[in-house]
């Protein structure tokens, strides 16, 4: 538990949004978010957005890459 997928809100109508899952769009429910906005990146679990994530990049490799690169250097230096 629990499979969740990243998606971007494209259109909002009440508590439902059209979300883009990377080439695929699907309607999801927004009940669990305080103030969802179009273009927000959200985590989707069982058809509901469960959290807005800081930025798209946040969940992508980039951040991890940077952090890990830093660790690697730190360790190598250690």
């Amino acid at each position: 538990m629990c499979l969740a997928v990243l998606a971007q809100l494209k259109e909002i109508k009440g508590n439902v949004a059209v979300a883009d899952f990377g080439g695929l769009t699907q309607e999801i429910r927004l009940d669990l978010l305080e103030e969802p906005r179009v273009d927000d990146w959200v985590l989707v679990h069982t058809g509901f957005a469960i959290q807005v994530v800081d930025e798209k990049e946040a969940l992508e490799m980039k951040k991890v890459l940077d952090e890990v690169a830093a660790i690697n250097e730190g360790m190598d230096n250690a």
Partner: protein
């Protein structure tokens, strides 16, 4: 004793998993159908469990194959049961290296089936025949009570001709493994559509007759083995080819051609695209020094544009995936039909 135990372990009743194209189907076939002694008409017979049989005729071979098509829904994005029934058999013939010549159509229809749907299926059958360059020459029609059957079943058998049949057991260490296009398109599209999931964009089945793609590969030379990754998907077919050839296959995860939207839907559905059916693809083993030439030839064909080399053959056994992060794991044949999951 080992073997006896294995036979006794066979369950008492057939279950769905026996039809899912994985290990259990193999066990059903080897535990039950392999008992047939009159299984060979002189060439490659039932015992081979290949995509079809090959019977010597003069200095050529007649290749014979059959498949039942039981798909639901019968009309789906990218195709229908009519196109599927022709493509499936054309492709099995192609997998044996044979030019498809003539097909049969054995239709079992549930009472109450709309005639208009039947017409639509027949149109699709005809279009696919046209595309594949072969003919449907004989058929049979049965109707069952609505209580006995809930959807149409189409069996298509077919014959093809080849000078030189290709086996699924011909892999040799050093060979390269080519997949002729993106993986999982059919299975993911069907599951998504069948479960009524509303996807805005169009996932589409890849169902197509791919003889011309295969012909290009054969003409380029060096093909050692072929199989179409239908039920059980690429995961199942790689295992079968490795087992029958007595070799190990090593696949690189990052080389696997998977469409962005198929990947996204597969993630959402919790299903592995390697474990679902393709209906317009081939897994081809090629001698290493012909691999690039074969790949190039395949890519020039309509259904081969996304072909890639996904791995290579080594001594040993099993199918290993080198993962994106450098880990490794076995690719196991799926046990049953994949079901969407949320966790």
């Amino acid at each position: 004793m080992e073997k006896l135990a294995a036979v006794q372990k066979m369950p008492e009743k057939v279950s769905l998993i026996h039809g899912a194209g994985g290990e259990m189907m193999q066990s059903l076939i080897s535990g039950v159908f392999a008992a047939i002694r009159n299984n060979n008409a002189g060439g490659i017979g039932l015992e081979a469990l290949d995509d079809g049989a090959a019977i010597p005729f003069g200095d050529q071979y007649i290749v014979l194959t059959t498949d039942n098509h039981v798909i639901k829904p019968i009309f789906f994005p990218g195709g229908d049961i009519g196109r599927l029934s022709i493509s499936g058999t054309v492709n099995d013939l192609a997998m044996m290296g044979a030019r498809p010549i003539a097909l049969t159509n054995g239709v079992v229809i549930p009472e109450g089936f709309p005639i208009e749907d039947l017409r639509r299926i027949v149109r699709s059958v005809d279009e696919t025949l046209e595309e594949a360059g072969c003919a449907l020459v004989t058929g049979d029609t049965k109707v069952l009570p609505k209580e006995a059957l809930d959807s149409i079943i189409i069996n298509t058998a077919g014959i093809g001709i080849t000078d030189n049949p290709i086996r699924d057991c011909g892999l040799k260490p050093g060979n390269k493994i080519i997949v002729t296009g993106t993986i999982g398109d059919h299975g993911i599209a069907i599951i998504a559509h069948r479960e009524g999931f509303k996807f805005g964009s169009e996932l589409r089945s890849d169902v197509a007759p791919i003889w011309k793609t295969v012909e290009a590969a054969l003409d380029a030379g060096g093909v050692t083995a072929m199989k179409d990754p239908t039920r059980g998907g690429v995961a199942s077919v790689l295992n079968e080819m490795a087992r029958k050839s007595g070799v190990k296959i090593v696949v690189r995860e990052e080389s696997l051609p998977i469409r962005q939207d198929v990947r996204a839907a597969a993630d959402m559905l919790g299903i592995d695209p390697l474990e679902v059916a393709n209906e317009g693809k081939a897994v081809i083993g090629v001698e290493a020094d012909r691999a690039e030439a074969v790949l190039e030839a395949i890519r020039k064909t309509r259904y081969g544009r996304d072909a890639v080399i996904i791995g290579s053959v080594e001594e040993g056994s099993g199918v290993i995936m080198k993962t994106r992060i450098g880990g490794q794991r076995f690719i196991e044949p799926p046990l049953g039909d994949p079901v969407p999951r949320v966790c």
